[in-house]
């Protein structure tokens, strides 16, 4: 049976990748019987909120490469520059702002 130590590993992992069915089920069961781990899980997920509190919003990969293109007119390392858009900084800036309108 899943113990607290392993449960915290899974609740952390859940924030970085999708859990497998088996992992999900085991974690859900453990959380249903353990209040300390439920508190821990809630505190781990504060992360999403502290990003949006200090910062207006976290950036996705797509958005970050859009900003990157807008500023440096080049593709991000290891990414193709979407042809024709790399030189349109202000256009991308607008797109970005529209996408992230709060």
């Amino acid at each position: 049976m899943l113990m607290c130590r392993e449960a915290t590993r899974l609740m952390s992992l859940k924030l970085d990748r999708a859990l497998t069915f088996k992992e999900r089920t085991a974690l859900r069961f453990h959380l249903s019987i353990c209040s300390a781990c439920r508190a821990c899980a809630r505190q781990f997920t504060l992360r999403i909120m502290w990003v949006t509190t200090i910062l207006p919003l976290p950036l996705t990969v797509k958005t970050s490469s859009m900003i990157h293109n807008a500023f440096w007119h080049t593709a991000m390392p290891g990414e193709a520059c979407i042809s024709g858009l790399c030189n349109q900084g202000s256009y991308l800036q607008k797109l970005f702002l529209q996408a992230y309108k709060i």
Partner: protein, 200 residues
């Protein structure tokens, strides 16, 4: 009223001259954010300085402060990444090996996998109350600084800059599996530190 609600109600158009004023108003927050991740005041100053230059070079008109802030923080994230890459190139990163076999888990959990009695998480109440609490952020800041450099760097890249663990591998050369191990420890340590310093 939460900070976000205040921002929503604020629809002042930010023109170029207002942008400069608002940037100086944001400066302490930008610096704190950069310092948290770079752990080097000079590098943090540089990142904020360059953020200002880029922001004004490219600035157009923004509807409201929140748009402007999103924009500026977006730039700052890239400048921080630049600085981190620079630190790495200069060989200022310690090898990770030491951090991989620390005793965080053994300290927090008993041999049978249960929480140690004095490490059991306390309930922090409603998230919105936690995040509005100014003191929480002071403790958070102190707790971040208490993390070892390598752990803090990976935590920042993931949680504050918002890179995926796959992207962090590319930036740092740490394997994805090790990344998950480090993030698990970082979260547990931060949680513990906040629990002790803020809640208790």
């Amino acid at each position: 009223m939460s900070r976000n609600q205040q921002r929503k109600g604020d629809t002042v158009t930010i023109t170029a001259s207002l942008a400069a004023t608002h940037f100086s108003y944001m400066r302490p927050r930008l610096l704190a954010f950069a310092r948290l991740q770079l752990r080097d005041s000079a590098a943090a100053e540089d990142a904020v300085q360059e953020t200002g230059l880029t922001a004004f070079e490219k600035s157009t008109t923004f509807e409201g402060r929140s748009e402007f802030e999103t924009w500026v923080f977006g730039i700052l994230k890239f400048k921080i990444l630049d600085q981190l890459r620079h630190q790495k190139k200069q060989g200022r990163w310690q090898p990770l090996d030491d951090d991989l076999d620390d005793d965080t888990l053994d300290r927090l959990f008993e041999a049978n996998g249960h929480w140690q009695p004095n490490a059991r998480p306390n309930d922090w109440g409603k998230p919105e109350h936690v995040l509005e609490n100014q003191h929480f952020w002071q403790v958070f800041d102190a707790c971040m600084l208490a993390l070892p450099d390598n752990i803090a760097r990976i935590f920042s890249l993931r949680e504050l800059i918002g890179l995926s663990t796959e992207e962090i591998c590319k930036e740092t050369g740490v394997s994805e599996t090790n990344c998950w191990v480090i993030l698990h420890r970082a979260r547990l340590r931060l949680r513990e530190c906040l629990d002790n310093g803020w809640v208790r």
